[in-house]
Amino acid sequence: MQDRDEQILDALRLDQSRGMALLMESYAEPVYWHVRRLLVGHEDTQDAVQETFIRIYRAIGTFRQESRLSTWVYRIATNEALRLLRKRRDDIPLDGSGIFEKEADFWTDWSDKDAIRLQKAILSLPRKQQLAFNLRWYDEMDYEAIARICGGSAKSAKANYHIAKEKIIKYIKEND
């Protein structure tokens, strides 16, 4: 991924449109799934991902390579998803199962009960634990990267991940 990021950054320096196309080729799908796990519904996710890349396009000139391109992209996507969640906060129940039931749409596979149980378990967690778990479990990021995306230290990211995992295992057992 590091080599790919270098290619993207080189392309961005030479031709911003071409560089942006390469960046989206690499990141649109993983970012989509990252945001979808937080927002549940496809349409909200699509809007958030689109807004994420528009913001990236506007700000790409300010990227100073102090962090990895991937963590920068994920951080912007996470902020965008959280912004939408803050907007939504007033009209949804706080319980994770409720969020899933309310936001799941036509593009939800209701036949996969285990996968639904796992998403409900994740959505029932506090936001930092949710993010740490998703970024580690699905995106296989190291704790340093998770800390850069979510704020805090690598140690707290690690603690959040392990607490989240234990809670999820318990939730799955209890809701069998």
Partner: protein, 93 residues
Amino acid sequence: MTELEQIGKKMPYTLPEGSLEAIERKVLEDRRPAARHWWGWALAGTFAALALVLAVRGTFFKADRYEDLIAAFESLDDDDQQFILECGDFEDF
């Protein structure tokens, strides 16, 4: 093996075909510069000529970078200002 490990990375979501391509298209269209009308070129030409005259007089390009930065920031809309503030450091959410 825990039940979590058995479920693995499965998700109960599907991605409608063509969605990512639609996102890419919209993002690139959003940032494509709009075609400039004749009066746009005229205005740009006038501005360039004026800038040249003022530059020669040494009054246009001040070396005050901080002031320029503040002015540039203030010229952004609220959304972009908020975005830069959010990404300037690592906020705790």
